[in-house]
């Protein structure tokens, strides 16, 4: 379970203080699929970065499974990212020098696990996202949709507590986007917690719950399962 309590994030632009997030509180249950929506500059990526431990809040508290990720050292935060969080980015962020299976293995390689012990799991994950025949290809040899599938497999390799997806379909065509979102939905159905940031309402509808942000504050929180029911 992820808990966000009274979190604010401010930036300084000269003398001026700008609120990217303003006193946000939020609870994300295990196995939830939360879609965060909002216009550009509303603070959705900032919120995702804070939940993922890529950034620290100016005020407030954030917990993952009761473990605080605010006010801790950079090393502790990094280890939480490594073991508890899986990231999927809009621009994939794969290492161009590594092939698909190596990119998928990267989080465990960082944890010191020998490649020989990861390889099988990485290949299995690539097969599960439909890339069993592309394991040795480097990112430049893959299409956008394939690169995002590799990123999904990479996010799953550590069996994370949560997958954070920041506009994962923002760089893909509609057909491929649906495939990727379908993959995420399937993952969620196996019990994986997912937080998706998007400005596309169609993409957001793949989740179980949607929150809307505007000027750093939550303006709407809808449970889709309830509304569908």
């Amino acid at each position: 379970m992820i808990q966000v309590l009274n979190v604010s994030k401010t930036y300084h632009h000269g003398q001026q203080e700008i609120y990217a997030l303003n006193d946000i509180s939020l609870k994300i249950e295990k196995s939830d699929f939360l879609s965060i929506m909002g216009p550009s500059g509303s603070g959705k990526s900032t919120l995702l970065n804070l939940i993922g431990g890529l950034d620290q809040p100016s005020n407030g508290q954030i917990f993952i499974d009761g473990q605080p990720i605010h006010g801790i050292s950079d090393d502790q935060l990094t280890l939480i990212r490594r073991k508890r969080v899986g990231f999927i980015f809009q621009f994939f962020n794969l290492l161009p020098i590594l092939n698909a299976v190596e990119n998928v293995s990267l989080p465990l390689l960082l944890d010191g696990v020998p490649f020989s012990r990861i390889r099988e799991k990485a290949i299995h994950l690539l097969e599960s996202v439909g890339l069993g025949s592309r394991t040795e290809h480097r990112p430049e040899q893959l299409s956008g949709g394939e690169m995002q599938r590799v990123a999904i497999a990479r996010a799953l390799i550590t069996d994370p507590a949560v997958i954070l997806a920041d506009e994962p379909t923002g760089n893909l065509d509609s057909h491929i986007s649906e495939e990727i979102l379908g993959l995420l939905k399937n993952l969620n159905q196996t019990g994986q917690t997912i937080v998706l940031v998007t400005h596309d309402s169609k993409a957001a509808s793949f989740g179980k719950r949607i929150i809307r942000l505007k000027d750093g504050s939550i303006t709407e929180d809808i449970s889709l399962s309830e509304s569908r029911a």
Binding site: D75, T78, R82, F87, L109, L110
Partner: protein, 862 residues
């Protein structure tokens, strides 16, 4: 473990993809290690060769008695032989001769008492010499000479062959009575050695009644120090009684300044290598920001990012240092002959046939390469760990997000420069030359380089402002966009500018130091060489006398009779022992010295005209002599003469570069009066007005050429010979200039290539909004030129400063000689030309590529 995974899966892939950059970084360190290993091994080999030759020539002697090079009375031999603890004391003449035929090789001639010398040295004659088993036969014929088998094989000599040898008495015909097997003394000096009877050697080399050395073997069980003291007690002051090991130490001390010079070259080379590593890692960090961001986002610790870059550097430095050690040994093998020649010409005779490898220098070079690389990589590696994952993975432009704000950079620059000044000010208060030369000087230079480099962003800002205001309009829209682009990314561009800066700074510093030392010596030489013709009987420029055979002073009377000769002045150069060190006595006519010498020498001589009259015991000493022995004007020094110690007054201190061991200059009459030595090494001739120098020279050769081998040179030719020796001495400094310039050139190209490639997306945007291909080309090339020029200008300034520090902080304390700093104008012009020209070249290839790039591809470039 996770670091190992990073190195294995990421580093190795980068190595394969960035071969050129890796090669560049490795090449810099490799060159540095190569120079440390090669110079170290060559130095060690020369010392080993000295030691080996000493030991072979010394034989069983445990002590050696020596004095001035002109020799001492043989009557002292009996006194030594009478000492109770002495078993054998044998006389030796050790002098130089020259084979007149063939390649006119210089050889060492040992004059020994063949009846007793075998008690000290063992001679083994080859089978061809069995017809001369009787030493008395050898004695009976004064033209007898024994040569080594090495020499006989090389020159094609056989028993009973008559050979011509240049001696003090002129060309002498000697008969080979035996050939020595390559054992014992016959292996000394690479076999360039011949044995004569001591009496014959005395006659031939102008040492009647004198000997050069007494080799002593104490009785068994006698304490060596007791015997040494007993010998010292019977000898007049000023004689040296030392063990062979002690004499080797003297040699080590004598050439230590030369070695320091080479060490400086080595450290500058490794410094240049450090800059390449710094540059390569900095560029790598900038280019791999996104990768670092991804790794950080996926859970890589800050310290592991830093260790990743340090680990990459470690791998590169291990490979580069290993290759450097191998190349160093190869280079040492190649250079050892040239070094031996330089040492022979400027210090004392040596014959180095090959390298002598000890583990010290390969290990030192290897360790220096690795430590220097890691130190150089530390700053950029630390900067890599501070990169924020959010900004890196979002591809936001590279901004000054680090600790190093413009104000802090400027303050850091000022701090480094002040620290450098403080270290420099401390210089005169520290007497430990190793501490000053090996530690403080490199630190002071490093501080200058780092200090000035910290001003690069500020300087670049100023430079671009000037360009924008006054010059950009001259280049149209390309000029305006180039100016804006440069200003926009000051930190990123500063990395490329610093690449140019460091390379140019090391090049200009090295060139300035070499140029200043050389110009100082040549200007001194111009004031010293007075005369139209210089005559010597051996290598004309040899200050160590190793290749110069003295001539009788009387020859001047005959020379004066040659038509067209106005005056003839003899010059004697001879080494003697003063307070346990070898110093050079330079004796010439002071009247002439006063009349034609340089202004400062003239002033000293003029002020002390009366006291310096030939019948007074006055001398002037060189600056190194005054520095080494802490002597001031008006002090008294006691010099050993064959008749016993004589007190001389120091009438002045003068600039004299003849020998860095120290020079004592005196009137030649004073020298002859005390040393009774009627020889000289050179004659300086003035020709009568109207007479042609070449005609006089030809006439001298015609009249004297058949009696002795003479080098008759015009003053200009003589100076050119000296220039050749100086070029040999500075060959390693020139090599360093080439190395640093090469590194600078490669650094410029790689840094700017990386800078332009990184901006592919930006270039695509410019094309998309309507910029013409030729405009893109112009912008990229112009930016490259501007960055190159900024680095070149700042690098030249830093180089001038660092070169001056080298001269003031290293040369002057090390050699004790005054030298003036001369700006290396040609090197600076080259530096500016190359920094602008190469930057233009470096920009052209990527500019062409950028201009041709598909706009869509460029915009999606990741």
């Amino acid at each position: 473990m996770n670091l190992w995974n990073l190195l294995r899966h990421i580093t190795m892939k980068h190595f394969r993809l960035r071969k050129a950059q890796i090669f560049m970084a490795a090449a810099g360190i490799c060159l540095g290690v190569t120079s440390i290993v090669s110079f170290g091994v060559v130095n060690k080999s020369i010392l080993f060769s000295f030691e080996d030759s000493f030991n072979r020539v010394t034989g069983k002697a445990k002590l050696q008695i020596t004095a001035a090079q002109s020799g001492f009375p043989e009557s002292l031999l009996e006194k030594v032989q009478e000492i109770r603890g002495v078993e054998y004391a044998v006389p030796v003449i050790e002098t130089d001769g020259m084979l007149v035929s063939g390649k006119e090789r210089s050889i060492m001639i040992l004059g020994v008492d063949v009846l007793v010398d075998t008690k000290i040295r063992e001679y083994s004659l080859s089978g061809d010499s069995v017809d001369v088993p009787d030493p008395l036969l050898f004695l009976a014929k004064s033209d007898s000479i024994l040569v080594t088998k090495t020499m006989a094989d090389r020159e094609g000599f056989i028993i009973d062959q008559k050979i011509q040898v240049q001696t003090v008495e002129g060309i002498k015909t000697l008969c080979i009575r035996g050939i020595l097997n390559p054992e014992g003394p016959a292996k000394a000096m690479g076999g360039n050695l011949a044995i004569m009877d001591i009496y014959a050697a005395q006659m031939a080399f102008g040492k009647n009644g004198r000997i050069d050395r007494i080799d002593v073997s104490p009785r068994q069980g006698e304490n060596l120090e007791t015997v040494r003291q007993a010998i010292l007690n019977v000898l007049p002051n000023g004689y040296m009684v030392d063990t062979p090991a002690g004499r080797t130490r003297q040699v080590e001390d004598m050439i230590s300044r030369f070695q320091n010079d080479l060490n400086l070259v080595s450290y500058l080379a490794i410094f240049a290598g450090m800059y390449l590593i710094y540059n390569a890692v900095s560029i790598s960090v900038v280019n791999r920001r996104r990768e670092i961001g991804i790794l950080r986002a996926l859970g890589c610790l800050r310290r592991n990012i830093m260790l990743l870059f340090l680990g990459e550097t470690l791998v590169i430095s291990i490979i580069a240092s290993s290759i450097g050690v191998g190349l160093g040994l190869l280079l040492a093998n190649y250079l050892v002959g040239t070094f031996g020649k330089v040492i022979s010409e400027t210090y004392m005779r040596t014959s180095v046939s090959g390298i002598h490898i000890t583990w010290l220098y390969p290990i030192l070079g290897f360790a220096s390469g690795i430590i220097a690389s890691l130190m150089a990589a530390l700053f950029p590696a630390r900067a890599s760990s501070l990169i924020s994952p959010v900004s890196a993975i979002r591809s936001v432009p590279y901004t000054e997000e680090s600790f190093f704000t413009a104000r802090r950079l400027n303050l850091g620059g000022v701090f480094c420069l002040v620290l450098s000044g403080a270290i420099f000010a401390m210089y005169n208060f520290i007497s430990d030359s190793h501490l000053t030369n090996m530690i403080l000087l490199p630190i002071a230079q490093l501080m200058i380089a780092i200090g000035i480099s910290l001003f690069i962003p500020a300087f670049l800002k100023w430079f671009v402002t000037i360009f924008n205001r006054f010059f950009s309009s001259m280049f149209g829209s390309a000029g305006r966009i180039a100016g804006l682009n440069l200003r926009k990314n000051l930190t990123r561009n500063a990395v490329a500018v610093s690449a140019v800066f460091f390379g140019i700074a090391v090049f200009v510093a090295s060139a300035g130091y070499t140029h200043s030392v050389k110009e100082s010596v040549l200007k001194w030489l111009d004031s010293m060489i007075i005369g139209d013709i210089v005559i010597s009987s051996g290598h004309p420029g040899s200050s160590a006398n190793a290749h110069s055979i003295p001539m009788p002073v009387d020859l001047s009377q005959q020379l004066k009779k040659v038509p067209g000769v106005l005056s003839v002045e003899p010059w004697r150069r001879v080494f003697l022992q003063y307070k346990g060190r070898r110093v050079l006595v330079s004796a010439a006519s002071l009247a002439r010295y006063s009349k034609y010498s340089s202004a400062d020498t003239k002033q000293v001589v003029k002020n002390n005209k009366i006291r310096l009259l030939p019948d007074k015991d006055n001398v002037v000493v060189s600056e190194p002599f005054a520095a080494i022995f802490k002597v001031k004007k008006g002090d008294q020094i006691t010099l050993p003469t064959p008749a016993g110690p004589v007190v001389f007054s120091v009438a002045g201190i003068v600039v004299d570069y003849t020998s860095d061991s120290g020079v004592i200059a005196m009137d030649i009459n004073t020298y002859q009066r005390h040393w009774g030595d009627m020889l000289c090494n050179s004659f300086f001739l003035l020709v009568k007005p109207g007479a042609k120098v070449n005609d006089v020279r030809d006439e001298i050769q015609r009249q004297f050429g058949s009696d002795r081998k003479l080098y008759v040179l015009s003053a200009l030719e003589f100076k050119n010979e000296i220039r050749k020796i100086m070029d040999d001495i500075f060959i390693f400094n020139y090599a360093l200039n080439v190395i640093t310039l090469t590194i600078a050139c490669l650094g410029i190209i790689v840094a700017l290539l990386a800078s332009v490639l990184e901006r592919t997306r930006e270039i695509g945007t410019l094309r998309a909004i309507g910029m013409l291909r030729r405009q893109i080309y112009g912008v990229v090339v112009l930016e490259s030129i501007l960055m190159g020029l900024a680095g070149g200008i700042l690098g030249s300034l830093a180089g001038m400063f660092a070169g001056w520090v080298n001269l003031e902080g290293f040369f002057i304390p090390n050699y004790g000689s005054a030298a003036r700093y001369y700006l290396p104008f040609s090197a600076i012009l080259w530096a500016l030309f190359l920094s602008a020209g190469l930057s233009a070249l470096a920009g052209m290839i990527p500019a062409q590529k950028a201009a041709k790039t598909n706009i869509v591809e460029a915009l999606s470039y990741d």
